[in-house]
Amino acid sequence: MFTISTAPHMNSPVTTQTLMRDVIIALMPAAIVAVLIFGIGALKVMLTAVAGCVLFEYLVSKYLLHRGNTVTDNSAIITGLLLAFNLPSSMPIWMILVGCFMAIVVTKMAFGGLGKNLFNPALVGRVFLFISFPVQMTHWPKPSFADFLNTDVQTGATVLGILKHVDVQSSATALSNQGASLADLPTYTEMFLGYMGGSLGEVSALALLLGLAYMLKRNVITWHIPFFYLATVFVVTCVFWLVTGNIKYDPLTHLLSGGLMLGAIFMATDYVTSPMSTNGKIFFAICCGLLTVIIRLYGSYPEGVSFAILIMNAFVPLIDKIFVPRIYGTGRK
């Protein structure tokens, strides 16, 4: 007997699983750069975070939600990787596991699992750790290229950390209380390649852009969110920079430093927590960009990407209601 099914009788080979797999592949360049720059510690953090997230997802879906194994959709691996990318390589293991718990159990599974969460799990994990353990979370090991066994913790400030403490009035002479000065700022090339202090995954703009190119080619995401996010940050800081001439507002530094690339390419584009329609995505990305700049320049924290994205995550249901696509045959001319 033949099968009877409703149309369409063909469907695309792309499934949730393959999409997630593509995102993991896209994250790989940044992961490799992280290991190259921060050594074995980076590998340890990434493996712990991925294992922690997968384990929590497995336990909750099997024993609490009785939904069978949902680990196979690969989304927990992405959350783990992204969480690791947001941590310094010197993070203690138990803290990483606490982050995984916040990300998977509290942010994702408590809301009903994949597709139901309001906030980006990895970001909530990061922000939770950031607020709870500020010392460890801002303890940035200095980059040391391909020096895997170097486990001495030599630490320094991040680029944004340095900029934050530069006095607006006398930018050239000010020294921050961390003992870092403008002289410690890496060059643009160093920033682009990733030779600077910071979280694991955020340092190399090049690796992240490679990931973006792969995702765009495989149609995993559309270009709107990364483009408009980065463009907004660039344009706004550019305006400040041109008006004041202060290095604090240098647009290229803002673009290449901190978690901006990582956030714009991998965090803000998370399917579940970003708007569905194209116009909604653009609005979302612009707001994220504005909030990031505002927090970076006027907030008490040097970095604003995670807060900006989380704040905008909360508005996604509203954006989805307001920005609906134009229906064929209506509302034109």
Binding site: M1, F2, T3, I4, S5, T6
Partner: protein
Amino acid sequence: MDNLILLNIIILGLIALIAAIVLYFVSKKFSVSEDPRIDQTEALLPGANCGACGKAGCHDFATSCVKADAKSFSNLYCPVGGAKVMEKVATFLGFTAAQREPTVAVLRCQGTCQNAPEKINYIGIKSCRLANKTFIGRSGCPTGCLRFGDCVSVCKFGALHIDEKLGIPVVDEDKCTSCGACVNMCPRQLFEIRPKGTNGNRVYVACRNTQKGAQARKNCTAACIGCMKCTKINPEIKVENNLSYIPTTVSADEFGAELVKNCPTGAIVCTKPSVKDK
């Protein structure tokens, strides 16, 4: 410092006063006077807001009851609350309640997994309404139950469930309020609201198949084949389009057992066939 506290109290007090005054005038100006009996009547109703009475909800029904005169009141009936509730409403409003037989929904199909085995492998969303548009049904019977349970999802009283073994919905007589939601939902109109019958004994044809005998039997062993045997037992029973229909006037106590015994396919169902023997 004291001044500050005092100032706060005064300012907040003023705001509260202004708000109170505004609210007072607004409530006066926009107040809707409604017969208090409507709310009181509504309190007597089940509050399911199912719309089975033909009104937009319990409040609407209560309004109609209060506005009704003795004659039009007899046309109002809450099938969910049944005679008991109507009695209360009638006493409260000073009418006499019209007597109505209690009713129940019956499924006019016996296309169970045993009687009408599945022949077609169907993949799609589990919805009778969609399946009915897509194809004939997994058993091949054009009028048979599609077994996806749209009726179950629409029943507000939990009176329906898909029996695991049979595969078709089963009506829980005690919970069924004969609100008619399933009648409207079923894309093949398999449900019928029928009187419960004396002591819950009722007889009906549990089939809607109008195909010719052989064809109907091909897909379901319990199909009505239009053999006319039942019409000989009671002439009120009519066979049209190879399908028999037993009017509610046919007494189940009197004819039920005989009808069931003589139906060659078992399409006729009598809930308590042993009544007559006793």
